[in-house]
């Protein structure tokens, strides 16, 4: 499916999630439009991966709504595979399971992510960066409208991270899809995303990278462990948690 840039693909409205009496997400609003890269950042335990699971439809929220535009194809790249060491699987076979097709199209997808050399290698033998690229190639094979990436640069060295983010941006440009990703790292990802959502159970702030990195809520969460942060922090009037919050 192809559509106009800017068309709304996914929307979460006031999503809340409580599991076993623990509130994990609180009134989260999120919208992903075609052609944009939206990154969720936040500290450990902020509910980033859980939010992705809600967005993917894997975890029903306890309150709020999830809207996915009909016919949207989602390509999902999980953090890691739960592949047992006894499972013999080559990259070629792994890709063909995702999208049965001629070997040439599989090899082509690998070529696009710069991992053509691992085509016949066993999946277990891949390095962290190669694995992420293969996972990315796998999602591309499904011709997604919306790519959902959970920590796509995990376990990759800094140089590789820059390359991967560049690759992700190029995929967005070439395929006009939307990309929703979760990231641990702050600095590199800021250069590679259109919009950032800063999550700590609720949305602390969101907007363009420049705006977010200047937001007091962001500074409080990630700023240098300097204690002054706590003292100067005031809840500023721009810091709203409702859905009327501007996206850009």
């Amino acid at each position: 499916m192809t559509g106009e840039t800017g068309e709304k693909l996914l929307e979460l409205t006031d999503v809340g999630l409580t599991l076993r009496d623990r509130e994990i997400l609180q009134r989260v609003c999120l919208q992903v439009d075609r052609g944009e890269i939206l990154t969720i950042v936040g500290p450990n335990g902020a509910g980033k991966t859980t939010l992705l699971r809600v967005a993917l439809g894997l975890q029903p929220p306890t309150s709020g709504r999830r809207y996915l535009q009909p016919d949207v194809r989602i390509g999902y790249m999980p953090q890691r595979l739960q592949l047992d060491a006894t499972f013999p699987l080559s990259v070629r076979r792994f890709l063909s399971l995702a999208a049965p097709g001629p070997a040439a199209s599989l090899a082509d997808a690998l070529e696009q992510v710069g991992a053509a050399h691992v085509f016949d290698a066993p999946l277990h033998s891949l390095s962290g960066g190669e694995m992420q690229r293969v996972l990315l190639a796998r999602t591309l094979l499904r011709q997604p409208d919306l790519l959902v990436l959970d920590e796509p640069v995990q376990g990759v060295d800094v140089h590789g991270q820059v390359e991967l983010y560049r690759l992700i941006a190029r995929i967005r440009d070439e395929r006009a899809c939307a990309i929703l990703m979760v990231s641990h790292d702050l600095h590199l990802v800021m250069a590679a995303t259109d919009r950032v959502v800063c999550l700590n159970r609720h949305i602390c702030c969101s907007g363009a990278p420049e705006t977010v990195t200047a937001d007091p809520a962001y500074l409080e969460m990630f700023g240098p462990l300097g204690v002054q942060n706590l003292a100067v922090y005031t809840h500023d009037s721009e810091h709203r948690h409702d859905c009327s919050e501007e996206h850009r």
């Binding site: 894997l58 999902y76 739960q82 006894t86 499972f87 399971l97 066993p122 033998s125 499904r142």
Partner: protein, 268 residues
Amino acid sequence: MDDFLLRAMLGGFGVALVAGPFGAFVVWRRLAYFGDTLAHSALLGVAVGFLLHLNLTLGIVVICQVLALLLFFGQRQRHLASDTLLGILAHGALSLGLVALAFMETVRIDLMAYLFGDILAITAADLAWIFGGGLLALLGLLWIWQPLLAITIHEDLARVEGIAVDRVNWFFLGLIALAVALMMKVVGMLLVTALLIIPAATARRFAAGPEWMALLASLIGCVAVGGGLYGSYLWDTPTGPSIVVCGCLLFIFSFLLPAGFREHPVRK
């Protein structure tokens, strides 16, 4: 060759062929304890068979299916860890079976035959069960093969991509329950898991893909059955355990052979 030996051989091969592909999934998905739990319910199946005047193999099949269903739903709750749940069901079912049989005063069963198998007593009817049921189990597995592989690789990923994960898992557990019930006759409830996982684990080093591993496991299982039967005939040892010992020897000696599938091929 004596008739009973021929039947034993056929029954053993049939069971090993079925055990191969299922064993591969048991190994990949770490379901060894799950298979064990199903096997433990066999005596309860025998008791139910006597009680309802059913064919005893049918009784075992039915009880295994019921237990698989219980496990399927039990694993969706979050209050008990799944190995705790498996332990409760396994030993609960085993004890319940023993107690139920003790109540039936007219029934005397050969407990050893159920614990360790009685391959030499396989009848023509047993063979029909093994080959008929085994074919059914394998065809069922073939039917869900691709989605099951996808689920084994990553369950959430499979779900996002539109595979009916719960339905496939449920169907698979039913098939395993059937396979386990059929294997009971040959190696007995205590050794069923061994026949599932030892050939599959042996096959791992030589398999280039999941299908190869499944096929190879079937073949290795057949060799174990053949070797075990022969050894049992030669030295008058119990047959079920002899088959498992032979499987273990194959597993150990397989490390002397060069692996067919290099774990870390030289690249670049």
